[in-house]
């Protein structure tokens, strides 16, 4: 009997355990009592682990999603880099086109400001193979009515003149070439001289006597005496002036960017460019366009038309054009003759 009882002990325990739980259930149902204490302790034991698991899971999930996201980001980054490269290339193209449009716009404005002058826009298509020769090739030629000794300018200032004409192209001799020359005058004193190329990037202004006050930054204009460049076109500014023998050594900073020319204007006629407000504005010095400076009356302190200057010896110099009738009060260097239209009375001058 006892042995049977011991052998059946687990079964009795099971029955007791189940019965206890049935009673617990009955207690909860019959009395409508919730055993909050058991739930409370169960939650108190389990929930910290739940909270920790949730936190760890969300962090792990975050790391995982970040890792996956980074993989995607890496691919996206490579794609965006390629796109940026393409856009930069496209941007450079557009910048080039915008720059060209701006240059052409400046040329067009300049052309429109001087409708009386026949101009032809041209593009620089090449340069000389000889480093010592400062020449350019333009995409305009005989078919476009380009002729030798026509002036080539930009709205910034003069560039040079046509020295060779081919059917579809032409060659320009820059003012910086050692064989080049242009009649010039100092804007402040109206002192005449000749801008000659020196082979260096900066040309020189020759035939200005040592007594003439010249200061750095002074504007140099075309005098029109060479009959190639119309009068009062901007050549450049004085970058350095030193006494010399017998004339001052004056370095000129060209106004036109001779080393970065892309588009130029060819003046088909040597006609002097009119200022748009010449008729209604008689006085004062002002710039009409970047390349043309309105002539100003000599200030009272300006010694330009002085007797001393007038008494200075006129010596022939290699000018680039025929000297026209000088202004009444303007000192001038001796006349020079162009190689094309030299009047019989003018002495010939060596011309490039």
């Amino acid at each position: 009997m006892i042995d049977t009882t011991l052998r059946q002990r687990p079964l009795f325990l099971l029955a007791a355990l189940v019965l206890a739980q049935v009673l617990l259930l009955a207690f909860q149902i019959k009395r409508d009592h919730d055993v909050r204490l058991i739930r409370y302790w169960a939650a108190a034991v389990i929930m910290p682990f739940e909270r920790g698991g949730t936190s760890a899971f969300s962090k792990t999930g975050g790391i995982w999603s970040d890792y996956v996201g980074l993989r995607g980001t890496r691919a996206e980054n490579a794609r965006l880099r390629a796109e940026v490269d393409q856009l930069q290339l496209r941007n450079r193209e557009l910048e080039g086109q915008a720059g060209e449009a701006q240059r052409l716009s400046v040329l067009l404005n300049f052309h429109d400001a001087h409708p009386e002058t026949q101009m032809l826009s041209a593009q620089v298509i090449g340069a000389s193979a000889d480093p010592a020769s400062h020449t350019l090739f333009l995409n305009r030629g005989e078919r476009d009515h380009v002729r030798r000794n026509q002036a080539v300018i930009t709205p910034d200032g003069i560039v040079g003149k046509i020295v060779e004409v081919f059917p579809a192209t032409s060659q320009v001799l820059l003012i910086s070439d050692k064989d080049s020359g242009a009649g010039a005058l100092l804007a402040d004193t109206r002192t005449h001289g000749v801008v000659k190329g020196s082979g260096d990037p900066d040309p020189r202004l020759d035939y200005v006597v040592n007594d003439e006050p010249v200061h750095a930054g002074e504007v140099i204009l075309t005098s029109g005496e060479d009959r190639i460049f119309p009068k009062d076109l901007l050549i450049g500014t004085v970058s350095m002036a030193n006494p010399g023998n017998p004339f001052q050594v004056i370095h000129v900073q060209p106004a036109a960017r001779l080393d970065r020319l892309e588009d130029v204007l060819i003046l088909l006629t040597p006609q002097e460019l009119k200022k748009p407000n010449e008729s209604d504005d008689a006085g004062g010095s002002q710039t009409i366009s970047p390349g043309i400076v309105q002539r100003e009356p000599a200030p009272p302190s300006n010694p330009a038309p002085s007797a001393a200057n007038a008494a200075k010896p006129n010596r022939a110099h290699p000018a680039v054009g025929t000297v026209t009738a000088p202004p009444a009060a303007s000192p001038k260097p001796p006349a020079a003759t162009p190689n094309t239209q030299a009047p019989a009375s003018a002495p010939a001058a060596p011309q490039n």
Binding site: P10, L13, Q21, Q28
Partner: protein
């Protein structure tokens, strides 16, 4: 394979009783409860698996001690009830107490090491547990808990498949 499911294939004395490191049973049961509650937040797919039942069955058939099995089942079931909001405490307790006892008894009579026998055991115990749960609900709470549905069949299949892998994992916790 037939001997595995045949209670008479091996004698009770030849069945090996597995020992575990101290606290293994309690920690594993506790983790099963925590995981069950934790995974429940991340979707209904977690309802496919009854982790507390798997732990009860595993340690029941491994320890092969009916007393330990029933007390483990009771503790796990009561805690499962306590963590649920609407279950009166004792519903899962009664079911898992009986399952724990029965698993220990069965484990003492047949070899439950083979994956196929484990799959069958888990599958059967799942439905036995559901039947006990439904009876308790119907008898004591007057609730119409179903004995069998297709959903329960799917749950039992998934739990059984998962249980085979879990049992293999838990086997590593044995003290050799």
């Amino acid at each position: 394979m037939s001997y595995m499911l045949n209670p008479g294939a091996q004698s009770e004395s030849n069945i090996e009783v597995h020992k575990y490191y101290g606290g293994t049973v309690i920690v594993t049961a506790f983790l099963a409860l925590v995981l069950q509650a934790f995974l429940h937040k991340y979707g209904r797919w977690s309802e496919l698996i009854d982790l507390p039942l798997l732990v009860t069955v595993y340690f029941g058939v491994s320890r092969r001690n009916p007393v330990t099995g029933m007390f483990l089942g009771a503790a796990v079931g009561l805690l499962q009830d306590a963590l649920s909001h609407d279950n009166p405490i004792g519903l899962y307790g009664i079911s898992k107490t009986i399952v724990g006892y029965l698993a220990s008894t069965v484990g003492a009579r047949i070899d439950t090491q083979h994956p196929v026998s484990r799959l069958a055991l888990i599958f059967l115990f799942f439905h036995f547990h559901q039947i006990l749960f439904a009876i308790t609900q119907r008898a004591l709470l007057n609730h119409s808990e179903p004995f069998f549905t297709l959903r329960l069949l799917l749950n039992s299949a998934v739990t059984a498949a998962f249980g085979v892998a879990l049992f293999a994992l838990l086997d590593r916790l044995r003290r050799s």
